[in-house]
Symmetry: C2
Subunit: 263 residues, 2 copies
C-alpha cells in the first residue's frame, strides 16, 4: 500500500510538502472503499435489490484486507445503503436509505448539542403550518381516514395525560404524513421524538388545555379534509404558536430538552 511515509524519506521533500500543500490527508482504506461503493450505489450503477460481491470477493477485487472491507460495509450499513444477512445466499443487499438514518442523526444532534427546547419549538413553528397547507393540497382519502383515526385516539385518551400526549404526537405526525413529502415527514418525526421527551406532562394537566387542543385539531382536520389550504395553514399556525407561547412563558430562557421539569 502506498502512503505518506514514502513521500518524505528526506528532509527536503518534507519541507516542500509541508510548505506547499500542508497537512497531507491520508485516507483510510475502509473510507476509500466505502466512498467508491457509495458512489456506485447512488449513481445507479448498482441498483436497489442487487447484491454486492461477498466480502471475500471484495477482498480479492480490491486487494484490501478483510477487516478493511468489513469496516467499509459496516459504514454503508450504518448509512442505510446496504443491509447484510449471514448464511448461504446471504451477503450485502443494496438498499435506498430511508428516513431512519436522518431521524437518528437528528436525534443524536439534538441530544448531543443539548439543543435549547426553544430551537425545537421554532423549527416546529416553521414546519407544521406549511405541512398543514400541503396536507390540504395533497391528502388522499386514506390520509383523512388516518387523521380521523388519530383524532379518535386523542379523544379516547382525554382522561389520561400521558396517553393524551402520545396521541397528540401521533395526530401531528398524521398531518405531516398527509403531505406525502418525505423530507418534512423525516424532520417532523425526528423532532417529535425529542419534543415528546422534553415536554412537561403538567403542560397538559388542565382539562381546559386538552379541550382547546382537541377543538383546534378538529378544525384543522376539517380544513384539510375540505382541501382548504389557507384555512389549514392558518389554523395550524395559531395552534402551534399558542402552544409555543405557553411553553415560552413557562421557561423564558433556554432550558435543555432533558425533560427533568425544574422550578
Amino acid at each position: 500500500m502506498l502512503n505518506a511515509a514514502e513521500l518524505r524519506e528526506d528532509g527536503l521533500s518534507d519541507l516542500v510538502f509541508d510548505n506547499a500543500i500542508g497537512r497531507v490527508h491520508v485516507p483510510k482504506a475502509a473510507d476509500v472503499l466505502a466512498e467508491r461503493l457509495r458512489e456506485q450505489i447512488l449513481s445507479g450503477r448498482l441498483r436497489e435489490g442487487d447484491q454486492l460481491p461477498a466480502e471475500r470477493a471484495l477482498v480479492e477485487q480490491t486487494g484490501l484486507g478483510r477487516s478493511s472491507v468489513r469496516e467499509a460495509l459496516r459504514v454503508l450499513e450504518n448509512q442505510g445503503l446496504i443491509s447484510k444477512r449471514p448464511g448461504r445466499n446471504g451477503g450485502s443487499l443494496i438498499r435506498r436509505p430511508d428516513r431512519a438514518s436522518i431521524e437518528s442523526s437528528i436525534d443524536l444532534f439534538i441530544r448531543g448539542q443539548k439543543l435549547r427546547f426553544r430551537s425545537l419549538l421554532e423549527t416546529r413553528e416553521a414546519i407544521e403550518p406549511a405541512s398543514a397547507r400541503l396536507a390540504a393540497l395533497h391528502r388522499t382519502d386514506a390520509d383523512i381516514r388516518g387523521l380521523r383515526d388519530a383524532h379518535r385516539q386523542l379523544e379516547d385518551a382525554y382522561g389520561n395525560v400521558p396517553s393524551f400526549l402520545i396521541a397528540n404526537v401521533r395526530w401531528h405526525l398524521s398531518v405531516v404524513a398527509a403531505t406525502h413529502n418525505e423530507l418534512l415527514i423525516a424532520f417532523m418525526t425526528a423532532i417529535s421524538h425529542a419534543m415528546h421527551a422534553g415536554t412537561d406532562l403538567r403542560d397538559f394537566n388542565s382539562d381546559e388545555v386538552r379541550t382547546i387542543v382537541t377543538k383546534a385539531h378538529r378544525r384543522i382536520l376539517e380544513a384539510i379534509a375540505d382541501r382548504d389550504a389557507d384555512a389549514a395553514r392558518r389554523r395550524m399556525e395559531r395552534h402551534v404558536s399558542a402552544y409555543c407561547e405557553q411553553a415560552q412563558r413557562k421557561a423564558p430562557e433556554g432550558v435543555d430538552a432533558d425533560g427533568a421539569g425544574e422550578e
Copy 2:
C-alpha cells in the same frame, strides 16, 4: 457469547420460540458496544474532550475481539461522536455531533430516494419564511455584516450566472445563520446542496430575473436589519414562492433532482 443456536437444539423449543416471539433478533457485538458507548457519551458520563480507553484496553474490558471493538468505534466516528488520532497519546476523542452528520444523511436520503425536486421546494417554502422572521428577531450586528457581505457578493456576481447562483445560495444560508437555530441551519444547508445541484442554470439566465432576485433580497435584508419580523417573513415568503412557481411552471410534474435539464 450466548446466542440463538443454543436456544433451539431440539424441535420443541424451536416451535415455542417461533410461535410465541417470532424472529429473535441477535445483536452483533460491535453494535452492542457502540450502543453502550453512545449512551455513556450522550448521558454525559463521558464528557466532550475526554478520551475513550485505547482499543486494546477496550478489548480487555469488554472481552470482545479487536475487530469488533474497531467496528464499534468506526460507527461512532461515523456518527460524529468520536474522532480518532493515531500515534502515542492518540486514541478516541469524544465529540459532540455537529451538523455534518445530519447534512450527510439528508444528502444521502435525497440522492438515494431520487426525491422529487418539488419536495425540496416545499421544504424550502416551509423553512425560509420562518427563518427570515427568526433572523429579524435574533440577529446580531455581526449577522447583518455577514448578510451585507453576502449581498455584495451577489451584486458583484451579477454578470456571471454560475457565480450568481452560488452567491444566491450563500445569501440564503446567511439569513438562516442569523436565526441562530442550529436545526434550521442544518436543514437548510443540506437542502441547499441538493437544490444547487438540481437547479437549471437557465432559470437565472435573464437579466430581469436576476434584478428581481437582487431587489427582493435587498428588501428582506432591510426588514431583518430593522428587526421587522413580520415584514421579513412576508417578503421572504413572496420571494420563495415566486421562485417555486416559476420552477413548477417549467416542470409541472415530478422531475428528479439530477440536474440534467430535459425537454
